[in-house]
Amino acid sequence: MSLLSLKDVRVHFNTANGVVRAVSGVSLDLAVGETLGLVGESGCGKSTLGKAIMKLVPVAAGEIVVEGENIAPLQGAALAGMRRKVQMIFQDPYGSLNPRSTVGRSIAQPMVLAGWTPDAIAERLETLLGWVGLPGDARQRYPHEFSGGQRQRIGIARALALSPKLIICDEPVSALDVSVRAQVINLLEDLKSRFGVSYLFISHDLSVVEHIADRVAVMYLGMLVEIGGRDQIWRTPQHPYTKALLAAAPIANPKIARSRKRTVLQGELPSPLDPPPGCPFHSRCPIAEDRCKVEKPALRSMANGAEAACHFA
């Protein structure tokens, strides 16, 4: 059984200019102990999808199944059990911590809500701070006293408090410096091998995703265009958008960078208010034909075992 199973999830936002279909029909599975990378450019709906799983945005349609239970229709107190299983960390750890709460209180909040005793919370706090590599006196201090990397550790400690099965990581290292970014990535990997926690790792940084993910899903304009194993995606990408993304990502090796042939993708992401008909990518696609302008391709299995949504892949 999958830990998380999404079936045709849709998230719509009503704006003054019309309905934005931020997520329009995403289905995927995430296994126990797996890290699934979710990549795409800004506006593709990857963060919205993460928030939808947390029920932080209203889900218009579809099923979000966590350990066999569909949480999409749940409201209010009924969600408490699910929140124990799924937690989230954010890109900006400063924006996700209450500046007027001590770090100890912030990390303890989920346990307080879950009805833990003060003694149990105090003991757990010490354990958590140790796991994420923060000094014991951190609990009495305030978020502004910490660096960006340390604040992200605080966010991770809070997410771990109730021993979740799945942590949704929304660009968790994008705001960090290179050396600190490596520290946090290593910490996430250590925690995974220690506790078997799964990650949905949302990022625009392909090199980080290639490093951390077991499988990767690629989103474009609210839809999945390709999903497959890490090596399938990097070695034999099938969808033209996946190929274009990989070609555009800078490579930290001057010789490889010079020798590879790059086709720079032209144009920019169309407005999600007015998505093109047919395949969402056809307006920028180098191999698009007339069929792509009218008929939306569905995900189908490829020869290499991955799935891609393209008529001609």
Partner: protein
């Protein structure tokens, strides 16, 4: 031989704050030849942006003051020029583009008005000619539907299009030096590739010297000819881009490369992180600023500050361990 378009010698910028004096740029020297791209690399707080703003003389005084050194543009030292002299040089001889294109544009002026203003300030063009040139420039930087975008306001354009407008303004008067401060950091990866390709093409056509400031080693590998690595306000290593990635000399450079995931690397490999973080400028350790985080630090590193030495032609490193081999 003609002087290089940009030559910086022993540049020193100090921030005078309530918490004391901080040496934000501490003796930086570098030169950039025509058609050459030098990347300035380091983490936040290492002084790379302050170096660029010092070269442009754009830092507010107080708190920042250039306390020493020379900045030679085409052989002429501009460090002591009065502000109205600098006004004439900025945008004409040296241009700069910033990380956030939205905030470098005037939100209440059209694209055309902003480019025309640059042209009319620095050239003899009349308004009509400047408007025609503005259109040409937008075509040159690959603005889709350029004629129509002339009347657009910045908020009507995407981040990538705004950055193209900023680039058009920066190159409007064909400067011999262009400083690009994290020009693609705020952009999506496919748009980043477009902007990097555009800058390369413009440089190939005009032969301008370019300083490229970035924290992204992938972008460095894609764009730079030479690399200057900074740490805590000082240059710690300089080398050609191939040498730097192949055999980094300074442990900090090696740490940055090890901390960057390489495509195709074996899965099990842990990233080599650098423990700790960049020290605040008002609390720099005695000796080498990197010593507390350095895996190769020796006793000497904690008391004595290493100076730049040249272990081979074309490269410089400030490290006792690297000197010892």
């Amino acid at each position: 031989m003609a002087a290089p378009p940009l030559e910086v010698q022993d540049l020193r910028t100090t921030l005078f704050t309530r918490r004391g004096e901080m040496k934000a740029v501490d003796g930086l020297s570098l030169s950039v030849g025509a058609g050459e791209t030098v990347a300035l690399v380091g983490e936040s707080g290492c002084g790379k942006s302050l170096s660029a703003l010092s070269i442009m003389r754009l830092l507010p005084d107080p708190p920042a003051r250039i306390v020493g050194g020379a900045v030679k543009l085409n052989g002429r030292d501009v460090i002591a020029l009065p502000e109205d002299g600098m006004l004439d040089i900025r945008g004409r001889e040296i241009g700069m583009i910033f990380q956030d294109p939205m905030s470098s544009l005037n939100p209440v002026a059209t694209v055309e008005k902003q480019i025309v203003e640059v042209l009319m300030t620095h050239t003899e063009l009349g308004r009509g000619q400047a408007r025609a040139r503005a259109h040409e420039l937008l075509e040159l930087v690959g603005m889709p539907d350029a004629a129509r975008r002339l009347d657009a306001y910045p908020h009507q354009l995407s981040g990538g299009m705004c950055q193209r407008v900023v680039i058009a303004m920066a190159i409007a008067c064909s400067p011999s030096v262009l400083i690009a401060d994290e020009p693609t950091t705020a952009l999506d990866v496919t748009v980043q590739a477009q902007v990097l390709a555009l800058l390369k093409k413009l440089q190939a056509d005009s032969g301008m010297a370019m300083i490229f400031i970035t924290h992204d080693l992938g972008v460095v590998a894609e764009t730079a000819d030479r690399v200057v690595v900074m740490y805590a306000g000082r240059k710690v290593e300089e080398a050609t881009v191939d040498d730097l990635f192949e055999a980094p000399l300074h442990p900090y450079t090696a740490g940055l490369i090890g901390a960057t995931p390489t495509p195709g690397a074996e899965r099990a490999a842990r990233l080599a992180d650098i423990p700790g973080m960049v020290p605040p400028l008002n609390a720099l350790p005695q000796g080498c600023a990197f010593a507390p985080r350095c895996p190769r630090a020796m006793e000497r590193c904690r008391t004595e500050r290493p100076t730049l030495t040249a272990p081979a032609p074309g490269c410089l490193v400030a490290c006792f361990a690297a000197e010892a081999g």
